[in-house]
Symmetry: C2
Subunit: 385 residues, 2 copies
């Protein structure tokens, strides 16, 4: 396969964007990514979007976005793996380039979640779980992650405080992110006393409902120097896996097997292990998710993810900073866009271009993006070229 | 890029499958495709599905299907380009294999359309048009294709009889397809006197609402001989393009530019032209669509598609047989599955394994799959290896 570089990234401010429609939100991100390169014409475009149908009644996302981006005749499609749709778009774009089928490919992600009324967003998101065996019986995502949290607390002694520390850390990181939906600090007490959603998870343990998009542009490494003036970033590891979609069919709900399998694949391809990763963006859709995922990725032993966040090992300046962007928790979680926004943050850090969020010696970054209650995961490793 | 072979194909009977859910329909097709090879474990799976969300409230299609197919941890995702979702799944699977990222990949397509009530299917399908500028103002797909038909009739003198000939031919072909939803003959008079849907299109000008799935398995050509005992089929041409999603933004609604662009790309890659194609499966969602598409592909000059079908040039035994499978018209149109079912038919013909439908000297076949009113198209050329 051809080596693949990321030559452009774009992400506008996320939030409740009531003055913009799905197409506006996406096109803004795509134009920012194009402006970050010397490219004006794309060869292909793949867009992660979880449910254009249920959120805004619009499918055929590839064609509509190519149209509104002003790229007439552009080959364009949409991919979906629930909240891992962005990660899947990045992988499919890499395959287009690595195969030689396309040269310059935009991988984007978008979701417009605030236009539905009543429990519309909860219904749409639940379509990422098993509709027939989980949702029909009343399960929603806070409930599913609450089950995982309870099991993790029982098995490993993970504490309510440790969960809260994830939110406190990520909101602190988010204060340095001008694109974050909720760039404010929260305290341990605020998290622990916020309104109960699904015991033990409270509202400040949950990522928000968000409108937003992000876009990155990839091309063959040998073309990259001619297409951007920015420092080059190379994709060195890819991994993808699924697991039983329903929580009741998993072998162990205190770990995310799909993440472990995908990470092993990505590490093997990159010739690296968890200790070689300088920083990571992981899928903290709920506070418990970040704790479980940092264990499943091999950053910490099973049961040690909670103590690690409490001890500041995953904070800025800690052993392995996690979610310097603010994570889904503070930055927001427009589900289809999240995986691409992770790549955005990693590229910014590797370029030394992350502004107030910049850490020192960012040479190897990892992105972990997952769908549903962990039934699908994509892991990508990126390095300074 | 690595050369790619199709080593297995599977397609069960299509229809109103009220005794099966989305997952049952897909898994049946995938198991048939696996049984057509010597493979029991896949490396990746990409599934075309237009709107699991609007039709059955289920997204996260890749993970759920990997789970129910019994392939634990399989990398799996879903792709969407409206009614061209199957074609896009085939392309993405080819990219996985051609790049070397995966070896054995299943490309599938599925849709369960009959579980919605009232105008649910019409609403879901309309999500393939421009929701804000077309659908909001009352447009549905029969109406959009009726506009194209009227314009084509005005500009080229295409007749009501010529439209009907498409339906008559495809239903005749469908009588030889045991998997077709409506494998019965229709007469010219029946088509012309059937109930009016959107003038000039009558119900027998329209493809039906269908539950169904299809699956094909691809791998690198150099591995193909070891993985199947069937005659080898090679993918020699790929093309993909989009156009303005809304009909009112097109330069000319009597042609499908996305198809013309995608076809040129596929022909160039295969080193072939329209005259080198022995037979084709094209996207006859409405009778007018087949006429326009056969022109846009370059099989006939603009305005000559109608006379060609009337003269039998696209019939079995004609100059270039179109839709030997029965097409969307007789076989059915489970939107996400259609593009893969086209590949199924082409592989069957190239192998000499199409039963009663088999034509002589089938060496080069072309599949054209499009989304919406033609805003996206995928073209694939397959040949006997």
């Amino acid at each position: 396969m051809r080596d693949v570089a990321v030559i452009g990234v774009g992400m506008p401010k996320w939030g409740e964007l009531w003055d913009k429609s799905l197409r506006d939100v996406f096109v803004e991100a795509a134009l920012l990514a194009l402006a970050d390169t010397k490219v004006d014409k794309l060869d292909n475009m793949l867009i992660g979007c979880m449910s254009g149908g249920l959120f805004v009644g619009q499918e055929h996302i590839g064609a509509i976005m190519a149209d509104y981006l002003g790229q007439r005749h552009l080959a364009a499609g949409r991919v979906e793996s629930a909240c891992a749709s962005g990660g899947l778009a990045f992988r499919c774009a890499i395959a287009e380039v690595a195969s030689g089928m396309s040269d310059v490919v935009l991988a984007g992600g978008v979701e417009k979640m605030t236009d539905v009324s009543g429990d519309g967003a909860t219904y749409a998101l639940a379509a990422a779980a098993d509709q027939e065996y989980e949702v029909f019986n009343g399960a929603t995502f806070p409930g599913l992650y609450a089950l995982m949290a309870r099991a993790h607390m029982e098995k490993y002694g993970t504490t309510r405080d440790q969960l809260a520390h994830v939110a406190v850390k990520n909101h602190h990181n988010g204060t340095k992110n001008p694109n974050a939906q909720y760039p404010f600090e929260v305290t341990l007490d605020q998290v622990k006393n916020s309104v109960m959603i699904a015991d033990p998870l409270r509202i400040l343990d949950c990522s928000p409902i968000t409108d937003g998009a992000a876009a990155v542009i990839v091309c063959p490494m040998e073309m990259a120097k001619d297409l951007t003036e920015k420092p080059l970033v190379k994709v060195t590891g890819l991994g993808q896996a699924t697991d039983a979609i329903a929580l009741h069919s998993r072998q162990d709900i205190t770990t995310i097997e799909a993440t472990t399998v995908a990470a092993k694949e990505a590490f093997a391809m990159a010739g690296k292990g968890p200790k070689d990763i300088d920083f990571a963006e992981v899928h903290d859709c709920f506070t418990i998710a970040e704790i479980v995922v940092t264990e499943s990725l091999g950053f910490f032993e099973p049961g040690k993810g909670g103590p690690a966040v409490e001890a500041g090992e995953t904070a800025r300046g800690g052993r392995i900073p996690i979610n310097l962007s603010g994570g889904l928790k503070s930055k927001g979680h427009p589900v289809g866009a999240t995986g691409i926004a992770q790549i955005y943050e990693i590229v910014k850090q590797l370029r030394g271009d992350a502004g107030e969020r910049q850490i020192e010696n960012a040479k190897v970054g990892l992105a972990q993006n997952m769908g549903g209650s962990g039934a699908s995961t994509l892991v990508h490793i990126l390095e300074v070229a």
